[in-house]
Amino acid sequence: MENILEIKNLDISYSTHNGFLKSVDNLSITFEKGKVTGVIGESGCGKTTIINSIMKILPANAQIGKNSRIIFKGNDKNLLTIRKGELQDFRWRKASMVFQAAQNSLNPTLQISEQLMDSIWDHDSSISKKDCIRKTEKLLHMVRLNPERVMDSYPHQLSGGMRQRVIIAMALVLEPEFIILDEPTTALDVITQSFIFDILVDLQKQKNLSMILITHDLASAAKLAHNMVIMYGGELMEVAPSMKLFNNPLHPYTKGLLGAIPFIDGDIITKKSIDGTPPDLINKPIGCIFQDRCPKVFDRCKKEHPEIRDVPGSDGKRKVACHLEEIFNE
């Protein structure tokens, strides 16, 4: 099992008026090569902070912990501390990103062809105009857009779903092997959502891309993701292959979350919200971060912070951060 990206002991805090907000707390994850890892969590769980630190686009008030390391493809360089030149090489050429609310991230005054060709030329000025156009057309085909319709259009002439597909094409421009998708389908209609996920599934298989899919929507993540990482309050709760996570969630938070999502089919009577509210990340509680909302809380949860541990027999693919021994004894 080769890893495309490793995050080790990532600590990110934001300095705010009320003190330091611990957005990501001592978090370590590895992302498998050629696989899609879904990072799932509710708002404020730190999922966007993680990818912002991978791409080095953290806001100015963010502080990175001393021992934090992000390593790309086993290279010993720490992405958090690389120089500007190396960063330029890493960003977009090796790793690209599809942003949240991407519909608004296109330049409204540029035609689609200009936007796409700009980014090709910016990283490779030797390519001829003819080749560049051909390449752009190929990319648009890949995301199932008709180049004739799209190339000379301005963003406002396209629908939300079409703009989103242009953005996906843009992420593929330099043929990176690693793509980060930050909520790629929020604010789109269900039919368009399903279509875009279809395209992403195809692209991933064709090019054997490694992807991180950041989302709060477990149901649609299941379509694309091979592995899932469940986050809560800036910490990892559970790591598991998607199917296993759905069929047999282990952490009480994962159980609660799956139990709180109504589906279009199946039973609705047993569905129930998780009681309580998300934790205060400025004054984090001692012990488990989920203790206030956990139905299975006991003494130890309030005193001791649960470390993330391998579930026996899972080959290191399944990890849970919980004091409940029953999870590990099965």
Binding site: I191, L218, A219, I264, T277
Partner: protein, 332 residues
């Protein structure tokens, strides 16, 4: 109340918006909607289908271009109708974004005591405090002392939405229009907000008009209720939620239901074929002639491009489709 009149009735509503560039946008076309006392009605559709316009017209915020809206059998746009006082006490709203719909410089107490004092439901602030204490307790915003003097920004999205719901129920209305009330709430607390509204419906018999794009929450919210599916300003299918979701008859609803992720991850991973000819939504300013769905419909025939289909009874519901007998059954 007049005999056999519904609580709220929208009859042959058309609503046009004049755009800056001279185009006319038809947000509602011949919409008929009836809500009885204590009923749960869900309006679903994708963005731009006119579902929020229906909500705003039900609230009396928008005046329809033509057609009548009546409350308890009285035309609300007729001269002499005591408006808005009656409408305000009988029809209330819960907005999507609780942050922008609560006054940021007023505490929860100030926000909630205003309608109580204005409509003389309490004599003074002291009584208001007692009443609001009870109300906060009833929606689980406890300890009450902790919440009552907070400002909206100090609460989480779910908590703010609870305050909005209290504000909507405080005047004991007959109908609450809830426009996407949970789309901005975290997934883990969404159901508790829906449960709260369901409870209010049961306890006080307040009717709900729930506007959403999310069919799964619609099904959870009103399993016994009625659904109105809209597409480009038209009602395409309406009936009992149970029937329409398990066996959609209109090709549009079938496509919509196919696109929704399945609860079984194994099935969700399988590639799905959405029964549509095209994924592009036509422009609302230039809707297709005949049936507005015809350019995307797999089963469209000549008549669909020429004649507008009317809502007709079909298998225990109403659908607007010329070829309803020829549409294959729904399988997922």
């Amino acid at each position: 109340m007049n005999k056999q009149s519904s609580l709220l009735k929208l009859e042959n509503i058309n609503m046009y918006f004049k755009l800056k560039n001279g185009d006319e946008l038809q947000a509602s076309h011949n919409v008929n909607l009836k809500i009885d006392n204590g009923e749960m009605v869900v309006v679903v559709g994708e963005s731009g289908c006119g579902k929020s316009t229906v909500g705003k017209m039900s609230l009396g915020v928008l005046k329809p271009s033509c057609g009548t809206i009546s409350l308890d059998g009285q035309d609300i746009w007729q001269k002499g109708f005591k408006w808005p006082a009656k409408l305000r006490t009988e029809v209330q709203v819960v907005h999507q974004d609780s942050f922008s719909s609560l006054n940021p410089v007023k505490t929860i107490f100030q926000t909630l005591s205003a309608p109580l004092l204005r409509h003389k439901l309490v004599k003074n602030k002291k009584e208001a405090l007692v009443k609001i204490n009870e109300l906060l307790y009833s929606v689980d915003l406890t300890p009450v002392e902790y919440f009552i003097h907070k400002y909206p920004f100090q609460l989480s999205g779910g908590q703010r939405q609870r305050v909005s719901i209290i504000r909507a129920t405080i005047l004991k209305p007959k109908l609450i229009v809830a426009d996407e009330p949970v789309s901005a709430v975290d997934a883990s607390s969404r159901l508790s907000i829906l449960d709260l509204m369901k409870g209010i419906n049961k306890k006080h018999g307040i009717a709900f008009l729930y506007i959403t794009h999310d069919l799964a929450t619609a099904r959870y919210f009103a399993p016994e209720g009625r659904i109105v599916v809209m597409y480009l300003g038209r009602v395409v299918e309406t009936g009992k939620i149970k029937d329409c979701i398990s066996g959609p008859a209109h090709p549009y609803l079938q496509a919509l239901l196919t696109a929704i992720p399945h609860s079984d991850p194994q099935k969700a991973k399988e590639p799905i074929k959405i029964p549509l000819k095209s994924f592009d939504m036509p422009k609302a300013t230039h809707p297709p002639s005949g049936c507005v769905f015809n350019p995307r419909c797999l089963y469209a025939t000549d008549i669909c491009t020429k004649e507008v289909p009317l809502l007709e009874k079909y298998r225990g519901r109403q659908i607007a489709c010329h070829n309803k007998e020829d549409i294959p059954g729904f399988k997922k």
